[in-house]
């Protein structure tokens, strides 16, 4: 009997969130030592784990610059992810994408865009291909984007097309209050995203993005709905960016009371508290989960740092198709 089979899904979700957090904390450490800066998703792990956990291997996803938790929730190897961030050959993209545009075909993670809104522009096409028989039968597509992307015009173009063409597409807005260095309150009315989306005539739900169980339940329902009728759905996940826009960023511009309020709602702590209260986990078990996540990430860091730099002679490879390029 495998141990994994006996672990409740609620505990596995905490485990995955811990892994994502440990991964990004390790990256922050490396960045103090001069590694390239990244956009972390600390504080938003419940969104990633809740939604990606509701997807199946036949589903595809698109994401943005804040993608680490999405990839880890999808089962990405943290060592290969880290190698990519550090620009090494063993990264998912051979070190060409860095942290901002990681894609992993083998995981169904297509087309990560750091052009804010770029992921929204491409997602209908991935969903159209699915609808026209190119993916696996019954697969759907999920696209993650931020509240900042919702201010781009392409947001509306994508929603409009997805609704008109009845594309099997789950829009997931991680509304984390920040758009780089601009607070959301400076750019839109409070309920704008859900209202804008609803205006396009599709099912819209707003969910507490720091409650992984609530996210998972809502995402599961949306995914089942899309699979059943092939029409798009929209989820707004209300969450918060606990760290800066990128590393390093001292967040001097952030209202400390606002930050403290959200720190008290840390999604990992909330899930741990819930599992302890349900006795699904005891404190020793929780400590073991923390320890296991840290150990995996330590191994990932070692793997990434041992990975070779790409051969500079390959600088212009993969600009155009070459013989034998295609998997």
């Amino acid at each position: 009997m495998s141990a994994a089979a006996t672990v409740p899904a609620t505990v596995r979700r905490l485990e995955t969130m811990l892994l994502a957090r440990a991964y990004e904390e390790a990256l922050v450490e490396l960045q103090h030592g001069g590694a390239p800066g990244t956009c972390t998703s600390v504080g938003q792990e419940a969104c990633a784990v809740g939604v990606v956990g509701a997807l199946e291997p036949r589903d595809r996803l698109l994401t943005n610059h804040r993608s680490a938790a999405h990839l880890i929730a999808r089962g990405a190897d943290p060592g290969r992810l880290m190698a990519e961030v550090l620009g090494r050959v063993d990264g998912y993209c051979g070190g060409r994408s860095g942290s901002l545009h990681i894609s992993a075909r083998e995981l169904g993670v297509v087309l990560t865009s750091t052009i804010v809104g770029g992921e929204l522009s491409m997602a209908p096409g991935v969903a159209l291909a699915q609808k026209m028989g190119q993916g696996e039968a019954g697969g759907i597509v999920a696209v993650f984007f931020g509240d900042g992307a919702a201010c781009e015009g392409i947001f509306h173009e994508a929603l409009n097309l997805a609704v008109q063409w009845q594309l099997p597409l789950l829009f997931v807005c991680e509304n984390n209050d920040w758009q780089a260095f601009v607070h959301r309150r400076e750019t839109m009315p409070d309920n704008a995203i859900a209202a804008w989306a609803a205006g396009h005539g599709l099912a819209v739900r707003t969910v507490d993005g720091n409650d992984v169980e609530a996210v998972h339940a809502a995402a599961s329902e949306a995914v089942a709905g899309i699979r059943a009728d092939g029409r798009p759905r929209f989820l707004e996940l209300v969450t918060y960016r606990l760290r800066g826009h990128f590393e390093p960023d001292d967040q001097a511009y952030v209202d400390p009371a606002e930050l403290a309020r959200w720190q008290a709602r840390d999604p990992l702590q909330q899930q741990a508290d819930r599992l302890l209260a349900q006795a699904a986990l005891d404190s020793a078990g929780l400590a073991r989960l923390h320890e296991a996540a840290r150990a995996r990430i330590a191994a990932a860091v070692a793997f990434a740092q041992a990975s070779a730099w790409p051969d500079p002679r390959a600088l212009t490879r993969h600009v155009y198709a070459e013989q034998g390029d295609r998997p």
């Binding site: 998912y92 051979g94 994408s97 894609s103 991935v126 026209m132 409009n160 998997p327």
Partner: protein
Amino acid sequence: MSRITTEQAIHQALAEEMQRDARVFLMGEGVATKRPDLLRDFGAARVRNTPLAEAIIAGTAVGAAASGLRPVIDLLFAPFLTYAMDALVNSAGKLRYLSGGQFEFPLVAMSMTGSGWCVGAQHNHNLEAMFVHAPGLKVVMPSTPADFKGLLKSAIRDADPVLFFTDLGLLHQEGEVPDDGDHCVPLGEAVVRRAGRDVTLVSYAKTVEVCLQAAMQLGAQGISAEVVDLRTLKPFDEATVLNSLRKTGRLVIVTEASGLCGMAAELAALAATRAFAALRAPVVRLTGPDAPAASSWVLEQAALPSADAVVQAVEGLLHQAVAEPAVLAAS
């Protein structure tokens, strides 16, 4: 062979490639309305009218191409490409590379460009060089109906994103076009439209005909001009240009697009870096001005390189010795 127009050649290429490959589909503002026989033959799933939203048309093509389809998008007039630029330049052109070759983007973006219809600068703009400058993209701009068909078929079969420009002034010209479903003109191959000894005229699209007219006039004076039609701007056929230049020693480049940082500049640089010893006179560029296209017929025509201007440039070159190259360089 059949005698058909450019418009018909494009239509044939689309129909044949959709017939050949079920992954090929067409979308754009009104494509289903304007091509009812494609709609009838291939159905509404593969011939799609879109909302008036170029950014999402192009983005959707990128996503679809990465996921196994082979989209052809009709973006109508080239100036509208600026709305589609993010998807074409930042996604289609870059994501094969950034993904380390995991994804490919076999898509074709068609648009119409160039003078002749008096539609003004927001419908007429030779933007091809912008896309030549963007890595990961290919750029095609044919001049004859046979090439329109053969190059569009190759573009649709190509594994990379291709920008396919149709010079508006060529839409209704007629020419002999092979009926053969496998009539493909390879991307990246120029063609010598007329052989000559004294000067090389390099061009593409509508100005190829301008060069051919100039070559005829020059021929009447006993000057033998070779006319090279690039056909594909990226990747472009350096060998054919260099071979011709090494034979003639003189180069006149003729484009409707403005000269600044355009194909003409690139060809001049090619001559200087790769065939300097063969040059018997300075390279001459005849291009459109760095100005938006006016719609008045007279102003529109004034912006174009004329056959007379080509003739004059060549006459000037033939009187120019290599010893004094600085004189003409500014003209």
